[in-house]
Subunit: 349 residues, 2 copies
DNA sequence: ATGAAAGCGCTAACAA
DNA sequence: TTGTTAGCGCTTTCAT
């Protein structure tokens, strides 16, 4: 054990072991069978390197090999159960491949999104996973110019493979469930199901609205435009909108399809001020799952997207790209109220 | 707009603009006042660079400057509201400094923790933030050997500055609140407050147990050992333990101090099977805040640790290190039941 | 079975 | 005001 100032390099180890830098490099990087270095020497080099606290300078290796050992992912926000579990899976699969994950959040800002992609390219990441992109076209352009492999998760992008969850199916399932549970009170406006949250031009939201609309239409209850309140993702907006809706209706609607956890947070922010029992005549659903939302004061039907499989498939698509632009769909699951689902990392805390 | 195979380098731009590589470098890196390059030339270089889709190769720059522009952080898990909001803040502050955050989760595995530190060192990150370390000593050793600046968040480490939240105070506040709310039923064992979750040897948990114990002792109710169930963080363990406890007592205890969100998830997993009304005679508290936990079927008193300030202070300590080993404490806040708190990123979704 | 040397793309001294 | 050159630490031919 030595060391003080500078970090040890292969030259230091070379000097200490009497081998050449290239031998040290090969011994330490595992490329030593090909070079047929004696096991003895490898042992010695390994020992001395460990003693010196040597570790490969990844910037140098990366520069030389024109790759970094990093993988990038862009998510809208960290502080959201859906994306947080994506991060967890992304990291796990990255580790399996000895890659270091770099996860950045865009706050759903297209400008920020592009900045992040440029940064990741600068760092020569292996590939980029883009979840919940707001401007997939721009991203593909940037990546194409830099010859960067990328995959879209959660919404399809042009010119790159995508793995998305079946939003149409999920929305249908949730809407059907809500529909089966509405308790009419002879108040036409109130007795409808409302859709709240998300951005209507976002792919995922658009597909969910389609599912929502189709199920209602098939039931002979085609939704009017004011039933679809795509007020964005920020909690505050959803809070304002649900308050306004309740004002208009004089009550909560018979059914509520909340389109994201963040919108649901806002809805909850409003509910908090309501007297208990206010929800008895409403049925609530949320697209996306949160364990704590499973046991609220009122039952909540949730759709759980399988973020783990989403990421797994995304890695697959990146690693052996099929010819043409692939779009792979993963089925979401309906989680009944009061159900705690333990994810793939449930053993940890 | 050109480009096909290789990415453009400063040499390409140099050739295209008739300037030298170093001029191009200076023009593009912003170091050009010092070099007094004519604005004209800078403009030209900028334009051509943009046209060529040039972007700095950060591995090369990093190798040359012996730093990478990356900052590392280690958290136990991504999928947890407390650590997820830390990530969000960590990223925001990193961006302010033009640094790229690399966030890795250790799953509270000391081995993994060390592996991550080594990896981050290999990538020459600027500094490392360690949240919820399980083996701070080992981390400091590794960092010291590599001369790596680091800061402990959430628990104090040896040989490096730390910024922690005042766990003792938070636990006192929460315990006092619970104590004030217990509804005795003349059943000595049941009428007590139980502490569940966490690892007794972890710093944070230890401090919280102290606070818990002290408040109870001051109230003339010194806790017996079986009142403190430090069964770890995994939800499943907490679920088993709360079930066992309920078996022993024949009922839920009068008060429950849940020591983390993950343990709380487990507790909830048990509660789900209980008939409604089971909680009317229990008062529940949770150390750490989750917006969805604010509106459960039963009221929950929560302690919100100010992760944003924690991270802010940590950056401060890293950037101008005070002489000696600093430990800075940040006060947590008690959040009453049914309160939705909007964090610093509440505008986003 | 091993060593010498070139070069990845950049920046920083040093010249001019 | 700008150009030349060395070198960051590594991998990789090419010799031997």
């Amino acid at each position: 054990m030595t060391m003080q100032g500078r970090k040890a390099t292969i030259y230091d180890i070379a000097k200490l072991t009497g081998a050449s830098p290239s031998t040290v490099s090969a011994a330490l990087s595992g490329a030593w069978k090909a070079r047929r270095i004696s096991e003895q020497k490898v042992e010695l080099i390994r020992r001395i390197a460990a003693e010196q606290g040597y570790s490969t300078n990844m910037q140098a290796r990366g520069l030389r090999q024109a790759k970094s050992g990093l993988v990038g992912m862009i998510i809208p926000v960290h502080d959201n159960r859906y994306f947080a579990s994506m991060s967890q899976s992304f990291e796990a699969f990255a580790r399996d491949r000895d890659l270091v994950p770099v996860i950045a959040s865009s706050m759903r800002d297209p400008m920020e999104e592009r900045r992040i992609v440029e940064t990741l390219i600068s760092y020569a990441v292996d590939s980029i996973f883009i979840a919940g992109a707001t401007d997939p076209g721009a991203i593909t352009d940037l990546c194409a110019a830099a010859n960067m492999r990328h995959v879209f998760v959660d919404l399809p992008g042009p010119g790159a493979p995508s793995v998305i969850s079946d939003n149409y199916l999920g929305a249908r399932m949730l809407t059907q469930t809500l529909l089966a549970g509405v308790q009419p009170r002879r108040n036409p406006a109130r007795d409808r199901i409302y859709f709240i949250g998300g951005v209507a031009t976002d792919y995922a939201t658009a597909r969910r609205i389609e599912g929502f609309r189709d199920v209602l239409t098939e039931a002979g209850l085609p939704p009017s435009p004011e039933q679809i309140i795509a007020c964005g993702y920020p909690p505050k907006r959803a809070m304002q909108e649900i308050a306004a809706l309740r004002d208009r209706l004089g009550d909560l609607p018979a059914g509520l399809f909340v389109n994201s956890l963040t919108a649901f947070e806002g809805v909850l922010g409003h509910f908090v001020h309501l007297p208990p029992g206010s929800f008895d005549r409403s049925i609530i659903g949320c697209y996306d799952y949160d364990p704590f939302a499973a046991y609220l004061q009122f039952p909540v039907h949730m759709v759980r997207q399988d973020s783990h499989r989403l990421i797994e498939e995304a890695y697959r698509l990146i690693e052996d790209p099929a010819p043409g632009i692939t779009v792979r769909e993963v089925e979401p699951a309906l989680i009944p109220p009061r159900t705690i689902y333990a994810g793939p990392f449930g053993e940890h805390g």
